[in-house]
């Protein structure tokens, strides 16, 4: 069997083919045409945005301010959870005034419920708000992909040293069609296959509505590549990434 972790360059074959679709071959029919038109329109919109701003907006950035993203991501990413106001401020990592203003606006619009218990304020997403499901979907797809990936990888966690989300989503420069790039470092004796990783990630892919590109190494393969200055691994580890499972230092060759 091929060594799954190896990144091979087959650029000649890749260039000869149209953009590789990671999903099953789509059944092309008359109904596919509007989808293609929408796709082209989305591309056009994206390029307009790219021309306007040096740093292209992420999906969430196009819709919400930074504070809104954090507050909505917490409240609608975990809608079953009631947050203390102070807790929300700490988790959002934003100024308390800014967070309180967002919460107040959300409460006034009926999107969240604020209840007082003694002198503590509890904030929770309002499940009966007319756009609750939509906001929850946005929080999940655009604000909290890391959470979705963590859920999907949880059954494999004991066989992994570490895993990271990297690439455009981790950088916050993702577009609607961006893949989720995930680097996984398996324990040497775990016998984890790329096939098992694809299977574990399938539900997250379905719920996120975007494809996930996993790259799997064993710990010794990963460390060897780090030591040898392998371009791909070096770039991922030097760039922005979000820890999904394990310990950030687990794969550090000096430890």
């Amino acid at each position: 069997m091929p060594k799954m972790g190896i990144k091979t360059s087959r650029s000649a074959a890749k260039n000869a083919a149209p953009a590789p679709a990671p999903r099953p071959l789509r059944v092309v029919s008359a109904s596919a045409k509007p989808a293609r038109a929408a796709h082209l329109a989305a591309n056009r919109t994206a390029s307009v945005a790219a021309n306007r701003a040096a740093k292209p907006a992420s999906l969430a950035g196009a819709l919400f301010s930074a504070t809104q993203q954090r507050v909505l991501g917490l409240l609608f990413g975990q809608p079953e959870r009631s947050f203390f106001a102070t807790e929300l401020i700490a988790l959002a990592g934003a100024g308390s005034g800014a967070v309180q203003r967002e919460v107040q606006r959300l409460a006034e619009s009926g999107l969240v419920n604020v209840t007082r218990v003694g002198n503590q304020k509890h904030v929770q997403a309002n499940a009966s708000a007319p756009i609750f499901e939509e906001l929850r979907g946005i929080a999940y797809k655009a604000l909290g992909p890391a959470e979705a990936l963590r859920d999907a990888l949880a059954p494999l966690a004991s066989r992994l040293r570490a895993s990271w989300l990297y690439g455009s989503v981790a950088k916050g420069s993702d577009r609607a069609q961006s893949d989720f790039d995930v680097l996984l470092v398996a324990k040497n004796d775990a016998g984890l296959t790329l096939e098992a990783v694809y299977a574990a990630l399938a539900p997250a892919e379905k719920r996120l509505g975007r494809s996930i590109s996993p790259t799997l190494y064993t710990e010794s393969e990963f460390r060897r590549r780090l030591t040898n200055g392998n371009a791909f691994v070096t770039k991922v580890m030097a760039g922005q990434r979000v820890l999904l499972t394990g310990d950030e230092h687990a794969a550090d060759p000096t430890r």
């Binding site: 069997m1 590789p20 071959l25 029919s29 299977a199």
Partner: protein, 101 residues
Amino acid sequence: MPLTQLDNLVRAGQLKAEPPAQSEIDGLVRSGHVRLLDAGNASLNIESRFDLAYNAAHALSLAALRWHGYRSENRYIVFQSLAHTLKLPPEQWRVLDRAHK
């Protein structure tokens, strides 16, 4: 044996229809088996073993596509067709599709 999903790809110009030729299918299966056998040779470098295994997978996947009466020059179409030609679950054909990239 024609498949509806693959017929749609023929209409979209992504796949060619071509009646199966038993001698070609036999040749592809033989070539796939030979390469797969050599890929198990631990005295070779891992890069060479990967190439052998990858080309074995392509030859065998193409044999399945030809058996159904189709052909494609695009390797990723050949691998992605496995979902229909051999009813392979996504996690299996996607590993091959990934190896191609």
